[in-house]
């Protein structure tokens, strides 16, 4: 198997540059929900020493001194640009899997020509067509492709194929700390280090039986992937930190809104589960619908809707309602749909949330959420179905530095000067 991971460079910051040619090469930072702290920086901002997670008030001095451009998170813009990139990728490489808002796996088997050449072309198409720079890692497995992608960011042409010789692979693995291996959590990395497994190369070389016992079947699959044996399916992948995707392609085309509603509610539930498992809350729910791109006889339609929640939450009824309203806004009768997906973003750590005067969490909601978790754990996901609930709208997020919705609002279109 030959798989590539294409990864956007500084995605949020790059999105803010697409319609701001005056910001090329300038330092840019993007703020978290409620303009609290810095969640993304352009390379120039990173080079100025501005770290991720720095609260805005602490960064004010350097922002003013170095004329750093500041933006609030414009999730609708990022979601739309991401969708364009993914649609473009799917048209170039049919076997592709979206992993997160700014990463996708491309299965290159069966494509003529050399993989690196194809990836350069795809990368170029994305930059020219959408305006987002990317880097690409290529390898025989997803885990190795992800490691290669990290290497690619350091290379001038930003495409890197790991290997082909085993010694070449091992050289890279020796220089990769085990916590950077995809699927290895910080806690696991610590436990591994205690047992002398500090690099990806060390992890590759562990005994299978030991691995199965110490780091479970999932961990063993990661080890096999490091050895070049494809072993991980999309379903088993740990969700990325910036967003949680839940979706599935239907075996048979679906046309009825009722069926899509059910699927969307189900995926919202799964995504919410992942959200709660990682102790996070989210503020954006993005719903997407597509027909089967490869069935020429079918009329094609694809759309998505980004719903911003008034307040970041992990409360399933709020998320399900947002997913439902998004779906109903984009549903069109008469199409044979292939896939619906629910994507949660604007993710924050539940405990780190800065206290707000009117932001006291509702203990009844927390009790409901815990009850849902207990029932789901005991009886399975299908035991509970979510009925429509109303969204809260008591206050709105502070987003002082929000850029226009260039690609999703007629009133916000970028201007082309004729002078």
């Amino acid at each position: 198997m030959t798989v590539a991971l294409i990864d956007c460079n500084s995605f949020y910051a790059s999105c803010e540059r697409v319609f701001r040619p005056d910001l090329a090469g300038k330092p840019i930072v993007v703020l978290s929900n409620n303009d609290g702290c810095i969640v993304a920086q352009s390379r120039e901002a990173k080079n100025l020493g501005i770290p991720r997670g720095l609260p805005l008030f602490k960064a004010r001095e350097i922002i003013e001194k170095e004329d750093v451009a500041v933006f609030s998170s414009n999730y609708a813009l990022y979601a739309d640009l991401s969708r364009r990139i993914m649609d473009l990728l799917a048209s170039r490489v049919p076997r592709m899997e979206v992993y997160s808002i700014d990463e996708a796996f491309l299965i290159l088997d069966g494509h003529p020509g050399d993989p690196a050449g194809l990836c350069r072309m795809v990368r170029n198409d994305v930059f020219r067509g959408v305006g987002i720079p990317t880097s690409v890692g290529i390898g025989p497995t997803k885990v190795l492709a992800k490691i290669a992608a990290k290497q690619a960011k350091k290379r001038p042409d930003e495409v890197f194929a790991i290997g082909p010789s085993e010694s070449a692979v091992d050289e890279i693995l020796a220089g990769t700390p085990v916590k950077e291996v995809w699927g290895v959590s910080r806690g696991l990395a610590k436990r591994l280090a205690e047992r002398g497994v500090a690099t990806a190369l060390d992890l590759k070389g562990v005994d299978d039986a030991w691995a199965k016992k110490r780091i479970t079947m999932t961990g063993l699959r990661i080890v096999w992937e490091l050895r070049g044996i494809p072993s991980i399916d999309m379903e088993e992948i740990p969700p990325p930190k910036q967003g949680i995707m839940s979706s599935k392609s239907f075996g048979r085309p679906v046309t009825a809104l009722e069926d899509l509603r059910e699927a969307a509610a189900d995926y919202a539930m799964r995504a919410a589960e992942k959200l709660r498992n990682q102790n996070s809350i989210c503020s954006v729910v993005d719903v997407a619908l597509t027909t089967n791109y490869f069935r020429d006889s079918d009329r094609q339609y694809s759309a998505n809707r980004t719903v911003s929640l008034a307040r970041p939450t992990d409360y399933l009824p709020s998320l399900a309602e947002a997913a439902r309203s998004g779906l109903e806004a984009i549903y069109k009768p008469g199409y044979r749909y292939k896939k619906v997906s629910v994507y949660l973003s604007g993710i924050e750590d539940k405990n780190k949330r800065q206290g707000e005067l009117f932001d006291a969490p509702d203990p009844r909601k927390e009790a409901v959420s815990r009850a849902v978790d207990r029932i789901t754990a005991k009886y399975g996901r299908d035991a509970l179905h979510c009925r429509a609930a109303r969204l809260d709208a008591d206050w709105h997020m502070r987003r002082e530095f929000l850029s226009p919705l260039y690609t999703t609002r007629w009133s916000d279109l970028p201007v082309a000067h004729a002078r």
Partner: protein, 153 residues
């Protein structure tokens, strides 16, 4: 009547009878199918490649000779490679500008307006040229009273 007589099993080993699954279409073809047409789809007309198409608003009148007026909406295809003669959106002094791409001499380029009141801008070769995309359509709306608003939303 000619028919293949049934063979008694006799000393022949029983053989599996292959089953060929037949897919029977559920309905009958309708005479109307051949004439089935879709409504005119403006999206298909204006947007050849959705992921790489952007809409922009024109500000100014330097391109009126090309039929692009102040306030018009332009559809820009970022996937097309700009060629001399194309109307393009280029980047100039940190902003987007709409101009006609012109070749000068052997390998020089210029960004030309289509209004005598505005100057042509020569470029120092292709390296100086940053193009966002090629303008494929310009949409001018005559609805000054704002009456043509979408109904039934």
């Amino acid at each position: 009547m000619n028919s293949t007589p049934c063979q008694p099993a006799g000393d022949q080993a029983p053989s599996a009878v292959p089953l060929f699954p037949l897919r029977v279409p559920a309905g009958f073809p309708s005479p109307a199918d051949d004439y089935a047409e879709e409504s005119l789809d403006f999206n298909r007309l204006l947007v050849a490649d959705p992921p790489v198409t952007v809409a922009m608003r024109v500000a100014g009148d330097s391109m009126i000779g090309a039929g692009i007026l102040d306030g018009d909406l332009i559809v820009v295809d970022r996937g097309l490679v700009a060629r001399p003669g194309d109307v393009v959106v280029a980047v100039l002094d940190g902003e987007f500008t709409v101009k006609r791409l012109k070749r000068i001499g052997h390998d020089g380029f210029a960004l030309a307006p289509e209004n005598p009141e505005y100057p042509e801008i020569p470029l120092d070769g292709a390296s100086e040229l940053t193009v966002l995309g090629v303008v494929v359509h310009a949409i001018h709306s005559f609805d000054s009273a704002g009456r043509a608003q979408p109904r039934n939303r």
